[in-house]
């Protein structure tokens, strides 16, 4: 086929690339479904560094990955009653507002500074979370009248504890602010907003970890959908790359939801902290231009 050759002749084994992307995406899907992340933190470095694809296609693929994780995982979590719809929809107001303001100020702000600031914030959260690693359930939390008014409460059946767990959110305003930051981050950097959502729900609003990751999973897709159209019309979402990513992530996320329900909240935290630490280091390094 003459012309239009944007191939990668230097690729050692092109035949395996499709399968390679599929496998990496499945891993990203499992981890994303477990931890409430979109998998962008895995997809972007994996596709650029391991597979050697151009960064714009990797970022386009990561948007697809976020939406696939979100929809694939949320389909199970919403039906299973683990994701809290009210909390998700109400806090989406904060994240989408954050994403839009991010789009407004993008270009007027030094991205490298942002990487450092957000990276340090994540590093601090990782340390803060270390102290909470052993907490299985939040127990009684301080009463927040706003949480009562918005009916930020619920219950789910915990397959590990073999009982229904009831919970109520606290600190709605600080949680909402953190969600706004999560939105800002996805609007400005396009990465890592799932981490902030889980932190807002788990550390600030004190929801059970499973409810936090499941609710975050539902939310990240909505935030990502806002920018997906732009990436698509720019041609960054390449069918041959995005297709295996979508299928791999969907399969991984589907499998991940089954695993997640059988894990302890403490196990999820133990998985979450190292991911948080790695991403914070990654961001700080990128900010420093290393």
């Amino acid at each position: 086929m003459p012309g239009e050759q944007v191939g990668r002749p230097d690729l050692p084994n092109p035949h395996g690339v499709f399968v390679e992307i599929l496998a990496l995406s499945m891993f990203a899907g499992v981890l994303g479904a477990l931890l409430g992340l979109g998998g962008g933190i895995i997809i972007v470095p994996a596709l650029t560094l391991l597979v050697g694809l151009p960064i714009r296609y990797a970022i386009g693929a990561s948007i697809v990955s976020v939406i696939a994780t979100s929809s694939g995982a949320a389909a199970a979590y919403v039906r299973g009653g683990i994701a809290n719809l009210r909390i998700a929809i109400a806090l989406e107001v904060a994240t989408t507002t954050g994403a839009v303001s991010g789009a407004f100020i993008a270009g007027h702000i030094a991205v490298r500074v942002l990487y450092i600031v957000f990276g340090l914030l994540l590093a601090y959260s990782a340390v803060a979370l270390l102290g909470r690693v052993r907490i299985e359930l939040p127990g009684d939390v301080p009463f927040d009248p706003l949480a009562g008014r918005l009916r930020f409460h619920g219950d789910y059946h915990d397959q590990v504890l073999h009982r229904r767990v009831s919970y109520t959110a606290t600190a709605v305003v600080p949680g909402g602010l953190m969600m706004y930051v999560a939105g800002l981050m996805s609007g400005l950097l396009g990465i890592g907003s799932g981490l902030f959502k889980v932190l807002a729900l788990d550390v600030i609003m004190r929801l059970p970890m499973k409810v936090s990751t499941a609710t975050s999973n539902f939310m990240i897709g909505v935030t990502a959908a806002a920018s997906a159209g732009v990436y698509f019309s720019r041609g960054d979402i390449h069918p041959l790359i995005a297709a295996p990513v979508a299928l791999g992530v969907l399969a991984g996320a589907w499998g991940g939801t089954h695993v997640m329900e059988r894990l302890r909240n403490t196990t999820l935290r133990k998985l979450f902290v190292p991911v948080l630490a790695v991403v914070s280091v990654e961001m700080i390094l990128r900010g420093l231009g290393v």
Binding site: H15, V17, S70, L85, I89, S227, A243, A246, L247, R262
Partner: protein, 145 residues
């Protein structure tokens, strides 16, 4: 409904109490699952067409296998329709339709929640969902400028 009945572990259907959120959750779960399954099926079809077009053992990522922009990688609705009509770029167009179906699924979930909250006369949450939809619309307009 009670705990004993679900001690077997997974996949034990539980009777849920009537109420706005549970009804919403059921509808929403169905919409999300449908969006995921339909988009996955279309994407899979697109890949099969790619392989069919270029033969078994195809090297999708060889030079020329990774088209960028233009009719081979439709990125607007017009290009998508042209690609479907022109026959030669059908695999990419079909795959893109699958990807677009996946991409609108979260937006659809917000719309469905809004309708569901409206039926439960939960106006605060109808307003929340409406704001989210406005922000999504605003965001897509902003980034195009």
């Amino acid at each position: 409904m009670d705990l004993e009945s679900s001690s077997l572990g997974q996949a034990v259907p539980r009777a849920e109490p009537a109420g706005g959120v549970d009804a919403t959750a059921r509808v929403l779960g169905t919409v999300l699952r449908a969006g995921v399954l339909i988009s996955a099926a279309i994407i899979l079809l697109g890949i099969i067409l790619f392989v069919h077009r270029r033969g078994i053992g195809v090297n999708l990522f060889a030079p020329g296998g990774l088209p960028s922009g233009g009719a081979e990688d439709p990125s607007t609705l017009g290009e998508l329709l042209n690609a479907l009509n022109s026959n030669s770029h059908v695999p990419a167009a079909v795959t893109d339709i699958g990807l677009l179906t996946l991409m609108i699924t979260p937006v659809l979930s917000v719309i469905v929640s809004m309708v569901s909250f409206a039926r439960a006369r939960d106006w605060t949450y109808v307003a929340f969902a409406a704001v989210v939809l406005c922000m999504l619309a605003l965001g897509s307009v902003l980034e195009r400028i």
